[in-house]
Assembly symmetry: C2
DNA sequence: ACTAGTGTTATATCTTTCTATAACACTATA
DNA sequence: TATAGTGTTATAGAAAGATATAACACTAGT
């Protein structure tokens, strides 16, 4: 994984894991990869992984079991809420940015549609 | 202005000024506020402002005149390109994020429309 | 010449993030 | 009861970003 050097790595790891949870790649109650394994996979230090997990644990998305591993919460509603939160936040940010650039609502939607259209010509 | 503590302040200042340039609040050839004034307005150190300006100068968006002030480039095409770049980057980011959350193209557009609709009920 | 307004640069110090390394604590299984 | 796999914590050092403070360089108007 490649990181944006403008944002703390531990923070990006949090978001990465949240994404995988919301996307269902890490299901309810699933065991996460071992911290040392995550550190190797992400090419970062164990402490950095732990920093991310610590916060996710504090927020209740991950339940740690000493000696056994870290597990995704069983709370489906919590994940659903997270998905909605992330979605809204991203859209809110985009809208704020483009609005600041003086694009109208119509232009914003048009630009997005154009991007998706244009994108269909390629992969995915 | 309030800063996101997850991103370097100098970097946020750059984006803030780019936005103002693209939005036309800082027109072609306009003089920017004095660096010390900017520092006061943004509640930030002069060196931090200078760090942002230095990069913008290197990128050719600002032309400094020692003893007189900093001036927005006269190159209209450069600003137009910047606007397009910023717009595309933001949309690309949003799409990438929501796609990673497993939202379909249709859902993405629907969510954005819903947000804008819902937003019309309020301010602006 | 002086002065006020401007950009530019430098130093020392603090905080946050990240790293390498190591040790400690617990679980499960051979 | 060893041992391998796991989470947890600590220490010391490096690097980046900000800060306060100060000095230097140039321009324009008096």
């Amino acid at each position: 994984m490649q990181f944006d050097d403008k944002v703390p790595i531990y923070y990006q790891i949090k978001n990465y894991l949240y994404h995988r949870m919301v996307a269902g790649e890490l299901g309810l109650g699933d065991k996460l990869p071992a911290v040392r394994q995550l550190a190797v996979d992400l090419t970062v230090n164990v402490n950095t992984v732990q920093r991310a997990l610590r916060e996710m644990i504090a927020e209740g998305y991950i339940a740690p079991q000493r000696g056994r591993g870290n597990f995704v919460t069983q709370d489906a509603a919590k994940i659903a809420t997270l998905k909605q939160q992330l979605t809204t936040t991203y859209i809110q940010d985009l809208y704020g940015q483009l609005h600041a650039l003086k694009l109208t609502d119509a232009e914003i939607i048009a630009e997005i549609k154009a991007y998706i259209q244009h994108r269909g010509d390629a992969d995915d």
